[in-house]
């Protein structure tokens, strides 16, 4: 199993690496196109601001590399959002793997949503042995509306897509690497896809 975490100078990737260490899998940080293409599984991390993250992705020359991948890719938090078409944050275009828009929560709720919330209507092998309404840790100000690619739903202001899937591309809005044992189970499920 060759697991690569995309390294494009964004965010706290240590936590993800450590989570896989706990599962007994060594994840390699890489921004090298050939190494990424040769991996069995790929993690697309991201925290921080969308437009600057997208800029870094472009500078690292990874835009085309990611969209053309055929092996399972898991986008986490901003990583998931960057796989979408259009992001309200910084008025940025994403990779467009998912033809979806990423919008900001309104001021009717506290922003960011910070803490543990449930995931429901689970529809993917990614959630094997995870029961409905389990808690995951989330920290985000922007969300993806429910859509045909939704594989998990969370309710905050409105029911939104907290996980999406299209072909080999998976995205989760929550942080499995910070969501206790159940989060680790989701990472393990990803490795077993």
């Amino acid at each position: 199993m060759k697991l690569v975490i995309l390294n494009y100078g964004v965010g706290n990737i240590k936590s993800i690496q450590f989570a896989f260490d706990r599962l007994g899998v060594t994840a390699v940080l890489s921004s090298d196109a050939e190494e990424i293409k040769a991996a069995d599984k790929i993690i697309f991390p991201g925290v921080g601001e969308a437009s600057s993250a997208m800029k870094k992705l472009r500078e690292a020359g990874l835009e085309d590399v990611i969209t053309k991948l055929n092996q399972p890719v898991l986008g986490i938090c901003l990583g998931m959002q960057l796989m979408c078409r259009k992001l309200e944050e910084g008025n940025t275009n994403g990779l467009g793997i998912f033809d979806l828009a990423v919008k900001r929560f309104s001021t009717s709720v506290k922003v960011p949503q910070m803490g543990w919330n449930t995931i429901t209507n689970l529809k993917s092998k990614l959630f094997e042995d995870i029961s409905d309404k389990e808690y995951m840790y989330l920290v985000h100000s922007y969300y993806v509306e429910e859509n045909e690619n939704t594989i998990a739903t969370t309710d905050y202001e409105l029911p939104y897509a907290s996980a999406i899937q299209k072909d080999n591309f998976y995205g989760v809005q929550f942080h499995p690497e910070k969501s206790g044992k159940l989060g680790e189970k989701i990472l393990l499920n990803f490795l077993n896809l």
Binding site: K14, K110, P112, M114, W116, Y135, K178, S179, G183
Partner: protein
């Protein structure tokens, strides 16, 4: 629904927990890693580590501790104490901390909040505010509550939110250590005033106090130290009781 969070706070000096901890089944109660793991096991939602080391050597040890915690603990944690530059934060996040908490440095140089939220995102910037009532006014204090400032709690809270703080950790110095409950009136006012999560701190003594701060104080999270460290309020009991009171918690 998003749950209310329960957050144990550990004071760290030179890589060891201080202020006394009395934990059953813990061989070394001074070891922050062992404590953190235990808290994660019993259902703490997050952890806060407060570095009270005064020396440079102590700060370096803190980074090593953060690395160990990040490697072995699978819930989010915040590190605070003595953080005053973008470089400090960069180093902590690199070691795997999820958030940082700043206090005095934000008062001395408020633009630090902007710098941090722009560089690392609001989600990892917690601004801690210590305040106490003087002549009916909530006066913000710095340096661990030892020096009063010109700032008033609610004005300062508004400013830190505008500058990009992702969360406010409010400690009422009037309530801290009393075990008589949180400063719910001020907390509720804060919660209505700013649109970011508020962590209540100072005054936890009973399960009822937690219920009160979530209902009356409209707090999003509650932080405590001694009631957890000395096993006075076991976290599973607390959460079950909160659930019985129709407060959303993760069990």
């Amino acid at each position: 629904m998003l749950t209310k969070r329960i957050i144990p706070c550990l004071d760290i000096k030179n890589g060891r927990t201080v202020k006394g901890v009395n934990f059953v089944n813990l061989i070394d109660a001074g070891d922050p890693l062992a404590l953190a793991k235990q808290y994660a096991e019993v259902g703490a939602d997050e952890l806060v580590f407060l570095d009270i080391s005064a020396t440079l050597e102590g700060r370096k040890t803190m980074l090593e501790m953060v690395l160990k915690v990040a490697a072995q603990v699978n819930i989010p944690f915040t590190v605070g104490g003595g953080i005053s530059t973008v470089e400090d934060v960069d180093a902590l996040l690199h070691c795997g901390a999820d958030k940082v908490s700043i206090n005095s440095s934000a008062i001395k140089r408020p633009i630090l909040i902007n710098e941090l939220s722009q560089k690392f995102g609001s989600q990892c910037v917690v601004v801690a505010i210590d305040a106490k009532q003087i002549d009916g006014k909530w006066v913000v204090h710095l340096a661990g509550g030892t020096i009063p400032t010109e700032l008033e709690l609610f004005d300062w809270a508004k400013e830190v939110a505008q500058r990009g703080a992702g969360e406010i950790l409010f400690t009422s110095m009037d309530n801290d250590g009393t075990k008589a409950g949180f400063a719910n009136e001020a907390l509720a006012k804060l919660s209505a005033l700013v649109n970011i999560p508020i962590i209540a701190s100072g005054g936890a003594g009973s399960v009822q106090h937690f219920t009160d701060t979530f209902i009356k104080g409209k707090s999003d999270a509650a932080l405590a130290a001694s009631v957890f460290h000395f096993g006075e309020i076991p976290i599973p009991t607390l959460k079950q009781e909160l659930k019985n009171n129709s407060i959303q918690v993760r069990l």
